[in-house]
Each structure stands twice: as structure tokens, then as C-alpha cells.
Amino acid sequence: MYVARRTLARADAGLNRLYGWRYNPLYHSGAIVLALFVVLLITGIYLLFFYHISAPYQSILDIDRQVWLGRWVRGVHRYASDAAVVAAGFHALRMFVQRRTWGPRTLAWVSGLVLLAFVFLCGWTGFVMMWDVQGQVLAQAGARLFDLLPIFGEPISRAFTGERPIPGAFFFLNLFAHVALPIGLFIIVWVHVSRLARPGLFPPRRLTWTVVGALTALAVLWPVATTPPADLFALPGRAPFDWFYAFWVPLAMAVSPVALWGVGLALAVAGLAVPWLTRPRVARRPPPSKVDERLCTGCEQCYLDCPYEAIAMIERPDALRTGKSALVAHVDPALCVSCGLCAGSCAPMGVGPAGRTGRAQLGVVRDFVAAHRPGGRDVVLVACEHGAGSITAAAEYDGSLVYPVSCGGNLHTSVVEYLLRAGAGGVLIVSCPPRDCRHREGPKWLEARLFHEREAELRDRVDRRRVRLVYAAAGERDVVRAALATFRSDVATLDAAAAEPDVDLERLCELTEAGATEAGAEESK
């Protein structure tokens, strides 16, 4: 797993360098799959007009003869289906390596596997539709597999023995399946993202058009090859195969259908067991967020910011008696992935996982300051443990103190203020790139809280010139180094900020709580 994580970090870093983190295709692999589904749908509808179940292979030849449109539409359809498998594979691998597979994410993992199975099934019917050599081999191998299921009155393999012409009903059913499966596919996509707030369904427009343009260019410059027709009275011999969908054919040729079912079922069981195999032991599992109802002002910010819709606003039972807000946040532990983004969103520091609430963070930063005494107007690096060039493994990086956080989005802005007041010349916050965040929206909310006055914002009294946010993935230590050097030189040019010794942050928090109580009392009146 360590090697896989390192490899992924390097690949991310390399692609960030080439395309920038906004357009890194690895960050958008899941969204690219969906964009490709749309491409497949559009091109598929066009191809459907020219497909005849009575003469499947001939209709493919006819489409290929449409030099200006049909040929490259078929090419885009074919290459998009291949690219969808590649993107889906990368997406699954990424989730697996980053251990985003267990707990509340189990549904997404399992539905993702079902989606992948649907993609393969849909591809299988698509290749059979063409009724070329590959289609014949896939049909015969598939029929042998399905004949083991006791659900067919007559073995399907009989259709491909040559005893009689292949019934038109077969191609009709196959076409029906090829058209119906994508409908199921889109339903499963809905299930796949159902536990996400604001799911990023599509990649950035520029990346989408690049993918579509690249596939179109490939289809035009290197069109799909015309393959030999199916012939039930000849062995296929040497023929071109699509290995994204026909990868199992050599195994099907080598082992019995029973063994192939065994291999398939074993793989399915292994895939479905991943959520249970990858979840940490109970003692090491991060706890879900909890709401301290005494502090909750019912502002709804945590409810708005939660990327997993794990927080709901419910009626406060004792609102009238206590004079507090009518609504109070409530965390559903079954949906909470313990990202801690709610802790960063809560000005009165009343919500978050144990040990990572705003209050707990103030305690940690106080200990950090006491232990390391950042001074000399130096820069403190606040770094995400999952990214930030993996610098959180050490206490210092390039001479600067490193203050690790579980996620940039978990960071409460008061911590930044505390560090500056404690004498740090500047705070450089190094977060994962937005689309690389383990918790989806950490960097987005962090940036909004630091610089765009989103609730739980960094107070106006903090000199923004001494706070900087950079994005660096786990493998981008050079990005951190360069940003640190630039920030240091910028900070060095600033005059020393006027100290405000009378501001006591912890006391401020207490005041906020008292203020909240008063506000709640007024609201109830």
C-alpha cells in the first residue's frame, strides 16, 4: 500500500506539473467517466439509427463507409468506451489507495463496483452487436458462462453452433440490453453519489472538451479498424481484440466455464470485501463529529459546509426554556466520515470530531506555541497530513516549524490568528489541491474562510499579507519549498505588525459563547 501511495503521489505531482492541479485528469477520473458516458450516449444514439438487427455486420460496414460522420462517430464511441474503463480503473485505484472505501463510503465503493460491472456488460453487448470475429468469440464465451445458470430453457450456446441461422431475436435482445443497461447505469451513478453534497459530476469544461477533442482526433486520425466478420464455420484465428473488454477471453479459452465463474466470483467477493478489509481497527477509527448543543447557535454553517450531508438542523427541544436558537445541528454518525470540516466552519467552536474541534485545536496550538515558541518573525507551515509534499512527517521543513492538520478544511481560522499573535511572521497554509482533498471540499471552504469571509472567517484584524494558502499534493515538496521561499521574502519586507496584547483568543471564544446565548434568548423572544 505504501508503494502504491508513493506511486500515486508521484503521478499526481507529475501531472500537476504538466497540466496544473485544476486539470489533472487523475483528480477528475470519476467525473471523466461520467463525461464519457454522455459522449457514449450521444454517439450511441446516432449509431442506433444505422444499426440493423437483421444485418448487424453489414450495418457496421455501412456506418464505416460514411466517411464524414459515421466512421468517426463510431470511432469516438469505441474509444470513449475504452477510455471510460481506463478512467474508472484509475478512479477505483485512487479511492482504494487513499482508503476512501469504508464506513459511510461503503455505498459509494460497492455501487462503483456495480457500475464497473455494468460498464463491462454494456461493452460486451456492444461488441456482440458488431458481429465480427471478436463479437463471435465474446458471444460464444459468454454463452458458455450463462449456460451454467439454471435460468434458460435452452442453452444459449446452441444459437452459435451453426445448426441454424442466428435468430434475429438474439440481436434484438442484445440491442435492447445495450440500450437498457445505460439507463440502469445512470441510476447507479445516482446511488454512487447519493451521499455526497454538491457532487462534482463533470470535470472542468476545458478538461471535458480536451478529452472529447482528443478522442475525436484519435477517431479521425486513426479510425477504428474493420475487423473480419463472424463465421461460425471457421475458428477465429488471429484477430484484433479490444483488451479493455475482452481481457478475460484468454482465461475463458484456457479454463472451464465453472472455473471462470469461480474466478469472477472470487474477484467480486474480494472487491465487495474491500470496505471491511480496509477499515481501521475500532480503536484507530477516527470518531464522528459531535455537536456541543450549548455552543450551537443554529447558524446552519456546518450543515451547509458538510460534504457528506451528515449534518441536519433539527428543532432544539429545550429552546424556549434555555433561550437558545430554535434549531440545533445534529450529526448522523452513520454518514460522518470524520473529515472535521464542520469544526472549521463553526465560529463558536461547537462541533467537530473529538480532539479536532475548534476548541481542541486552540489547545493544540497553545501547546505547539509553548513547545516551539515560533518567533524571530519566521513563517509557520500549517500543512495537511494527506498532501503538502508529505512534510508533516517532520517537525520542521526548510527551517520553518510545521504545524500538521488532518485536513485544511478542518483548520479553524483562530489557529492562524493564534500563531500570528504568538509571534510567527507569517502562516503558510499548505493544503491539498481542491480536487485531491480526501474530504472533498476542505481546500474550497478553507480558502473561503481565510479570504472570502465565509462564516468562521479569519477576523478582519488579522493582516492578510501574513497569511498565504498554497496547494500542494503529497508528491509536491518542491512546490512547498518554492512557496515557502517566496512567502518568506514577502514577509521579510513587511513591517512588524502592531501587537495587540490585550486580545485573548480563548477569552474571545468564551465571549462568543455568551454572545450566542444572548442571541438565542433574543431569537426566542
Binding site: 501531472l15 506539473r17 504538466l18 497540466y19 469505441r78 474509444y79 475504452d82 477510455a83 481506463v86 468469440v137 439454471p150 430453457g153 435452452e154 442453452p155 450456446s157 446452441r158 453452433t161 451453426g162 445448426e163 441454424r164 441461422p165 480536451t210 482528443a214 478522442l215 482526433a217 484519435l218 486513426w222 477504428v224 479498424a225 475487423t227 463465421d231 461460425l232 464455420f233 471457421a234 475458428l235 477465429p236 484465428g237 488471429r238 484477430a239 484484433p240 481484440f241 479490444d242 483488451w243 479493455f244 475482452a246 477471453v249 484468454p250 479459452m253
Partner: protein, 180 residues
């Protein structure tokens, strides 16, 4: 790295991925290791259907709902046939073919591929009822109790020759695709 170099490398990366997709999308593969040929035995036969009937006891009848009470219940099944194939006077296949379905009441389906070297081969196929039916049902429609084929086949590399049952002629025949 300059923007131009980065752009060039980026384009190269995209081209590399596309080339990989194209190559893997049409990578040649040989499904058979040697250029052999196949003699395929495939047919459907109704077989000899028999019924086993018994009278239901009054106690059993009483347990059934009124509309399901029948004094006699019958279960039909198809008797098995034995398929024996000799290829160039060597035994190639000898197996019992049972009626399809969990109750063996569906027709008999034969599907067997014999890989042979290209060339001329002598083949002998026997498809015969195993045992005799006690009380055959609809014998007029059934497959004859014994089918046989003795012939010489000439196969070219990668050819598939089909041995099948012609229901109209009630005999085993050889087809090569041109005689469908």
C-alpha cells in the same frame, strides 16, 4: 520548465495515452494455439419421453386445497441417450446425455467440440437410447432410438464442420456452412 516545454510534454502525454488506447483496442490475439480444425457435434433431440404416474392417497389429498386435488399425479422425463464418437477408429467421446432441466424433462442437447488436425478423418457417431422405455409417451414425435453416422470428413485449417441432427430426414448429417 517553460510553458512551451510544459505544453509540449502535456500534449505528448495525451498522445501517449491515446496511442495506448488505440493499440489495446485493436491488439491482435490468436484464440487457438495451433491451426487445427473442429468437428462440432451439436443438435437438439426430443428423446423418448416417459411418464411416471401414481395414485395419491386420501390422506395426501386431504392436505391439498380443494382445487388442487387430483387422484393421479404424473411426472414426465426424457430418457437419456448415449453419445459415442470414434475418430479414426479411436474412441473420442462416450457420454450419457440427459434431458435438460432440473427434472430432465426438457429435450436433449448435444454440444461437443472435437479438435482435430486438418486433413481427412474417419468419424463414427452413435446416439442411442440408453435402456428401453417402460411406457413411452408420444413416441411418434420422438427422436429415433438410435442414430448413427459413419463418414469421412476432410477439414482445412481453422475449419469448423458441424455434425447435427436433421429432424426432417431423422438422421445425423454433416454441414460445413455452405449447406445450411
Amino acid at each position: 520548465m517553460t510553458n512551451v516545454a510544459r505544453g509540449g510534454l502535456g500534449a505528448l502525454g495525451v498522445a501517449g495515452v491515446l496511442a495506448l488506447i488505440r493499440v489495446l483496442s485493436f491488439a491482435p490475439y490468436t484464440t487457438e494455439r495451433d491451426a487445427g480444425a473442429i468437428v462440432r457435434l451439436a443438435w437438439r433431440a426430443r428423446g423418448e419421453r416417459v411418464r411416471d404416474c401414481r395414485h395419491v392417497t386420501p390422506e395426501e389429498l386431504a392436505k391439498l386445497p380443494v382445487h388442487m386435488r387430483q387422484e393421479e399425479v404424473c411426472e414426465g422425463r426424457v430418457l437419456p441417450y448415449r453419445l459415442v464418437v470414434d475418430l479414426d477408429d479411436n474412441a473420442a467421446v462416450s457420454r450419457l446425455i440427459h434431458g435438460a432441466g432440473a427434472r430432465e424433462d426438457r429435450p436433449l442437447y448435444v454440444f461437443q467440440d472435437l479438435t482435430v488436425r486438418p486433413g481427412v478423418h474417419r468419424i463414427s457417431v452413435r446416439f442411442a437410447l440408453e435402456g428401453r422405455p417402460q411406457a413411452p409417451e408420444e413416441t411418434g414425435l420422438a427422436t429415433p432410438p438410435r442414430l448413427a453416422l459413419d463418414t469421412t470428413l476432410s477439414l482445412v485449417p481453422r475449419q469448423v464442420l458441424l455434425v447435427t441432427y436433421d429432424e426432417e430426414r431423422e438422421q445425423l448429417v454433416v454441414r460445413d456452412g455452405s449447406t445450411r
